[in-house]
């Protein structure tokens, strides 16, 4: 689990004996050399560079702990037309329905936002927000309220943006603000890296001895400088020691996105903060994270919107009234679970939101809307399972878009989804009833394929592996090759796992061409295909069989008495899915992939085989992937077997060239040709 090999900093610092580099950056004072600066040498192509990004976090013991974040940022712009306004955005959280410009309530963060950390009681006080654009000739325009506007990101989270008057090549933008917040748990992640390069980035945090955060370093960069010193906090005779820590990153490259990843938010250099405990003098210690035990207790015993939803009969009375009559004839646990799953999956709509907690205090209220978040729907299933005395355990996870989890940290914020692990007649099955009509019982929504999840069970909580089913695609064809070069015959296809889900969905969308047919038509534009007949189209828990006959007019090319053709007519890998030469991020594949072709081709009378492609067996180390290819002759027919398997789901950037090479060879092999020659009198 290399993915989880992050650096953990639980305040066990060496006191670095480095003299902290003094960087004076004050709002309103931009040195002449920065106005005159023409390129940023480490990245001469950058449209802009963050000259300095400086954050200071301080804590106050009053009102049972609060913090102040002071933030100053200075950006040099070289090419205003290539410059994205979002590069000078502040992500903010504001209360519903209020106009943020007229309100003092806003949380300012950049990068990933955990909306779950906020409660309605939190007070945020944004002060001294000021911003300015300074032209290279020194002309300074201070931004007024009219130059500031907002954009909704999701839920209550907004981005505060600035219109930038008089922005010219060479202009410098600066902004600063101070934020006072009352809830220590809302301290957001701090990032040293962004989509443009950063020359200097610093975070100073003064941690009192009565406060503990788990600080998790993100990204694969080390800080240029890291210091810690002891200082004393004093306020009219009241005092305590503080640990003053500084993190400095210099010349941080721009963060660039890539494909086959979970979410970009997992990759920038930064620090995540998770509140552990507050132990103010003469007060009881308040544990925020402490132990997994506390988390389990909170979910299963104390909280309103988790276990109580399915434990209290009154919470799900209406739901029970709807489902229980359907269960009367069900005998086995599996039959019951199937009915409950189908009912919730088909009759309740998912509102496209993931959450660990239900959206209301009873399931009845959610049932009345016939619509809910991921926790609402899965806890509905839990409620009826509970009623039917079928044993289950909720599993928390973080969806692929939401980012990685921290197995060492008992924080609720790392999760955003809950599924169920159910024991059905002695068999363990996973349930994710989030309204996907093509997803069978036992399979997770594709977004939920997070590789691991956390089991919520008193005393028996633990991380569990979530092994997704293989997406298999088997193509079986029986073709006759005609003397005029036409291939015709019967095609059978068997799809299972996520491929079956995909295919059933596409079949429901369009009755004209199926996924298999589309892929064939892409390779052979003038293929003629009959309508497909299906087996198990409605039985979503079974493999999907389909069958059709087809005629491929130009499958071959002939010249004189020689005929050439490629026996592989169907594949998803004619082109390498990994085309980039290099890659900076790991490859993250959601589920194992298997593709298999078994094709028999009966040769036309009067032709003999001149050349057959060589057989091949190609593997990736440690059983990560395998490619088998073999063409054999049996009497007057040719049989091709091609098998592609990818079982490992996570590859480090260093492994990328090997994975790319594997698929390069596959793509080349799939194009190889068979050569036939007409038998002439002289041959005999």
């Amino acid at each position: 689990m290399t993915k989880l090999s992050y650096l953990l900093l639980l305040f066990c610092f060496y006191i670095a004996n480095l003299s902290a580099q003094e960087t004076e950056m004050t709002y309103g004072e931009i040195p002449a050399e920065e106005l005159a600066m023409e390129t940023y040498y480490p990245d001469s192509t950058a449209a802009a560079v963050v000259l300095g990004n400086i954050g200071k976090i301080e804590f106050s013991p009053f009102i049972f702990g609060s913090y102040t974040l002071s933030h100053y940022c200075r950006i040099k712009v070289f090419d205003p037309s290539a410059f994205d306004l979002k590069d000078v955005a502040i992500r903010a959280l504001k209360p519903d329905n209020s106009d943020w410009r007229n309100s003092q309530s806003a949380v300012v963060v950049t990068g990933r936002v955990d909306a779950d950390r906020f409660t309605e009681m939190d007070i945020f006080d944004l002060q001294n927000l000021q911003a300015a654009v300074v032209a290279p000739d020194g002309t300074r325009i201070e931004l007024s309220e009219a130059d500031m506007f907002e954009e909704k990101v999701f839920g209550k989270v907004y981005t505060q943006m600035f219109a930038l008057p008089n922005l010219q090549p060479g202009s410098v933008i600066e902004y600063s603000y101070r934020l006072n917040a009352t809830n220590l748990a809302t301290l957001q992640n701090w990032y040293f890296q962004t989509s443009i390069p950063t020359r200097y980035s610093e975070l100073e945090i003064k941690l009192p001895n009565w406060l503990e955060y788990a600080m998790i370093m993100q990204g694969d960069m080390e800080p240029t400088q890291k210091t810690e010193e002891r200082v004393q906090y004093n306020y009219s005779g009241y005092g305590y020691p503080e640990s003053k820590q500084r993190y400095i990153y210099t010349d941080v490259p721009a963060l660039k996105s890539d494909s086959y990843i979970t979410t970009m938010d997992d990759y920038p250099a930064g620090i995540e903060f998770h509140l552990l405990r507050v132990k103010l003098p003469r007060r009881i210690v308040v544990e925020y994270m402490g132990k997994w035990d506390d988390l389990v207790n909170k979910l299963l015993k104390q909280g309103d919107r988790f276990a109580k939803l399915y434990q209290k009969k009154n919470s799900y009375r209406l739901l029970s009234a709807a489902i229980t009559p359907l269960l009367t004839n069900a005998k086995t646990e599996r039959e019951k679970a199937q009915i409950i799953y189908d009912y919730v999956n088909q009759n309740m709509e998912w509102d496209n939101n993931y959450n660990v907690f239900g959206s209301d205090v009873t399931l009845n209220k959610i049932y009345k809307r016939r619509k809910g978040n991921s926790a609402d729907l899965n806890l509905m299933v839990a409620a009826i399972l509970q009623q039917e005395q079928i044993s289950f355990t909720p599993i928390l996870l973080s969806t692929r878009q939401h980012g990685k989890m921290y197995p060492l940290h008992p924080t609720i914020a790392q999760f955003n989804h809950v599924i169920l692990q159910v024991e059905l007649d002695g068999e363990t099955v996973l349930i994710d009833a989030t309204g996907d009509e093509f997803l069978p019982l036992g399979m997770l929504r594709m977004e939920s394929l997070s590789k691991i999840g956390w089991r919520v069970k008193l005393k028996e909580y633990t991380w569990v592996a979530l092994n997704p089913a293989t997406a298999a695609d088997i193509f079986i064809a029986d073709f006759n090759l005609m003397e005029n070069g036409i291939l015709n015959g019967k095609v059978q296809s068997i799809q299972s796992g996520y491929n079956a889900v995909k295919k059933r969905r596409s079949q429901a969308d369009s009755l004209m061409e199926t996924l298999v047919q589309k892929r064939l038509a892409k390779q052979f534009p003038d293929v003629k295909m009959d309508e497909t007949t299906y087996k198990n189209l409605a039985a979503i828990d079974k493999e999907l069989y389909s069958e059709f006959t087809c005629e491929i007019p130009v499958a071959t090319q002939s010249m004189g008495d020689v005929m050439y053709f490629s026996p592989v007519v169907y594949s998803d890998f004619f082109e390498n899915p990994f085309k980039l030469e290099q890659r900076s991020y790991p490859i993250d594949v959601p589920y194992p992939i298997q593709e298999q072709s078994v094709i028999t081709i009966n040769l036309p009378e009067g032709y003999q085989l001149e050349e057959l492609p060589e057989k091949v067996l190609l593997t990736l180390p440690e059983g990560a992937g395998k490619f088998q290819y073999m063409v054999t002759q049996e009497n007057n027919s040719i049989k091709l077997v091609s098998k592609i398997k990818l079982d490992q789901l996570y590859f480090l950037p260093e492994e990328y060239p090997r994975v790319k090479g594997f698929f390069d060879l596959i793509a080349a092999k799939l194009k190889e040709q068979i050569v036939l020659k007409k038998i002439t009198a002289s041959n005999n």
């Binding site: 990245d43 449209a47 219109a163 660039k256 709509e349 090319q557 050439y564 194009k671 190889e672 050569v675």
Partner: protein, 633 residues
């Protein structure tokens, strides 16, 4: 006390009406209206009562059955601004049998600033109600009233979108006798019933049982297919400005007056203009110098405030901030030209690649969302919001479509130029050197002009060299390759870009024993064949033409001979386009020449198969291979 009763009267009928409505049961819908439908509009009634040129009242009522969870209409969104006010909203949800599920409470009506995703500020706001319910099908019912103090245009009657059928729809327009209106019915045959009574004229339109319309690819855009009725008032007043949609001349006059007198430049700016144009001798040179000045110094930022985005910011605002929206930048450019005695006219246009909407000459309805600048003396068209575009190039954003020139004498209906097919050229000249293992070194030089260069220009201007290199495999579609080098440049004077690259493709030719299979067109084959369809309804429309010219030279490895060569020439001729291909061989060099020309065309629906076949034939010819054989040594 009197007021109290009036209030009751307004409120009561609505609340009383929200009970079970068996008539909404889904079982009452005609089967032909359910066919392919995601949504069935059960009732859609709008009353627009115009009291004076500046004031009006709108009443709307809709009953909609949603059949699927991905269907539209899962909310009610009512826009308003400083000229309009939403007076009353009520809404309810019914299940498939018409039984009331719930009424929407006051607390559920949310109020938002209308952030459109690209404007930096706007004074538009929204009333929003979530009308979703998880058990399908279900029916929503809503009513609202809106009052107008300032009229910019009358709301149109849009009967249906795609995948939507209609049971009953109606629109009632009431005008004070002193007012007049023109109307136009699009994609529907329906006549209004006109009555005159009590000092008022009443127009009533109605339609019922309209089946679903499904979207099709390569068809005219949605706006030219879907039924609607639009209104052109003879007189309307907003913010003290009075205008008319009687004809284009008078509407243009209104736009002129709205924006007149907003072009005062500072003395410094005037001096700057003089300095900039001092060297220029001809008008076109002067235009280009000033256009370049705008491109280099001003940025495009959308600002939607005041009179519905029709009135520009004054020149001083642009001069100070160095940014503006399309109006502000266009008017600023016009003012600069005026300063040196060149007359230019803002041209209102509906921008977009798909040429989505088109105003028509004989019906004055301002289907515009953008403004560009026309300089008649030089026959120049200037897109003032683009920092990268060459002068006098409109491109796919605003080419070939109707515009309204705003002149001091009123509006003049006109048309932007069409780019000739031959000017939209992609020319590739490549050399492919092969070794005996099938590895190819490919050098390709492309010249791109007209619409074909837009993508490459955008790439050059907006992406770093490092990014282009990294994502090269997404820019050129070739089999797995290694990039050696590339060059990309675009001209600031003409719509032209040049793009060249050298790559190595390890398995370009595929081997089978002593044979090597060599595909002839890997660099620029036809991709994306139109989908097969069962029944085509709308005409086939190819909106723009273009030409591709390819000349590829294959240098064969030593010791190989050609065993098999496809037909040496091929030609396809159709009114959709022409394709010509020619192969020749001289010693160890095979030369492949290909020309593909696609014509802009609108053809009847039944020709869709011909269009598909044309593409298929081209794709088939693009797949040809040469077979090489290793000589015995």
């Amino acid at each position: 006390m009197k007021y109290f009763f009036q209030l009751l009267l307004i409120v009561l009928p609505l609340i009383a009406s929200a009970t079970n409505k068996p008539q909404y049961a889904v079982s009452n819908i005609l089967p032909e209206l359910l066919e392919n439908a995601e949504v069935v509009i059960r009732e859609d009634f709008t009353t627009f009562n115009v009291l004076t040129p500046a004031t009006a009242e709108l009443k709307a009522r809709m009953v909609i059955t949603r059949l699927r969870d991905d269907a539209s209409y899962d909310d009610l969104t009512i826009g308003y601004d400083m000229h309009t006010k939403v007076n009353r909203i009520s809404a309810a949800i019914y299940d498939k049998n018409g039984a009331l599920v719930r009424k929407i409470g006051k607390k559920e009506i949310q109020d938002y600033s209308a952030v459109d995703g690209f404007s930096i500020y706007t004074d538009s706001r929204l009333k929003y109600i979530d009308l979703s319910y998880g058990e399908y099908p279900y029916t929503i019912e809503y009513e609202y009233e809106k009052s107008y103090k300032g009229i910019q245009s009358y709301p149109g009657w849009y009967l249906q979108g795609f995948d939507t059928s209609v049971e009953k729809s109606g629109y009632v327009l009431t005008l004070a006798n002193s007012l007049d209106v023109k109307y136009e019915v699009f994609n529907l045959s329906v006549e209004p019933e006109i009555q005159s009574a009590g000092g008022k004229k009443v127009y009533r339109w109605s339609a019922e049982n309209l089946p679903v319309i499904e979207a099709e690819s390569y068809s005219p855009s949605a706006m030219n297919i879907l039924p609607k009725v639009l209104f052109a008032p003879e007189k309307f007043t907003i913010d003290g400005y009075t205008g008319s949609m009687t004809d284009w001349e008078s509407f243009g006059k209104f736009m002129y007056e709205l924006n007149d007198g907003r072009g005062e430049l500072s003395a410094a700016m005037k001096a700057e203009i003089k300095k900039l144009t001092a060297e220029a001798t001809t008008d076109t040179e002067k235009i280009e110098v000033l256009y370049r000045y705008i491109q280099d110094n001003m940025r495009y930022v959308s600002v939607q405030l005041g009179i519905g985005g029709w009135q520009t910011f004054d020149a001083a605002y642009v001069e100070k901030n160095k940014f503006g929206d399309c109006k502000a930048l266009t008017y600023f450019m016009r003012t600069m030209l005026e300063e040196i005695g060149i007359t230019a006219y803002p041209a209102l246009v509906y921008a977009g690649r798909d040429k989505e909407r088109a105003a028509t000459e004989d019906f004055t309805f301002p289907l515009f969302n953008h403004v560009i600048l026309n300089v008649p003396s030089a026959d120049y068209w200037l897109e003032c919001t683009s920092a990268d575009s060459p002068p006098n190039y409109l491109g796919t954003f605003t080419d070939d479509r109707p515009v309204l020139l705003v002149t001091e004498n009123g509006g003049v209906f006109s048309q932007t130029p069409t780019i000739p097919i031959e000017d939209n050229l992609q020319k590739n000249v490549a050399t492919i050197t092969l070794d005996e293992k099938g590895t190819a070194t490919v050098t390709n030089q492309s010249i791109l002009t007209g619409t074909q260069q837009e993508y490459y220009r955008g790439l050059e201007k907006n992406q770093s060299r490092e990014d282009i290199k990294k994502y090269f495999s997404r820019i050129v579609d070739l089999p797995s390759f290694t990039l050696k080098d590339y060059e990309l440049s675009s001209s600031m004077d003409a719509p032209q870009a040049e793009f060249s690259y050298e790559v190595e493709i390890p398995r370009y030719g595929s081997k089978a024993g002593k044979r090597l299979f060599l595909p002839l067109n890997v660099i620029n084959p036809m991709s994306g064949i139109p989908d097969k369809v069962k029944e085509r309804k709308f005409p086939v429309q190819i909106k723009r033409g273009y030409v591709e010219q390819d000349e590829f030279q294959y240098i064969l490895p030593d010791g190989t001979t050609v065993e098999s060569m496809p037909e040496k020439t091929a030609t396809i001729t159709s009114d959709f386009g022409t394709y010509e291909m020619e192969i020749s061989q001289e010693k160890n060099v095979i030369t492949y020449r290909r020309t593909l020309k696609i014509n802009p065309i609108t053809a009847p629906a039944e020709r869709y198969t011909d269009w598909r076949n044309f593409c298929k034939e081209v794709a088939k010819l693009d797949k040809m291979k040469v077979v090489l054989i290793q000589e015995k040594t």
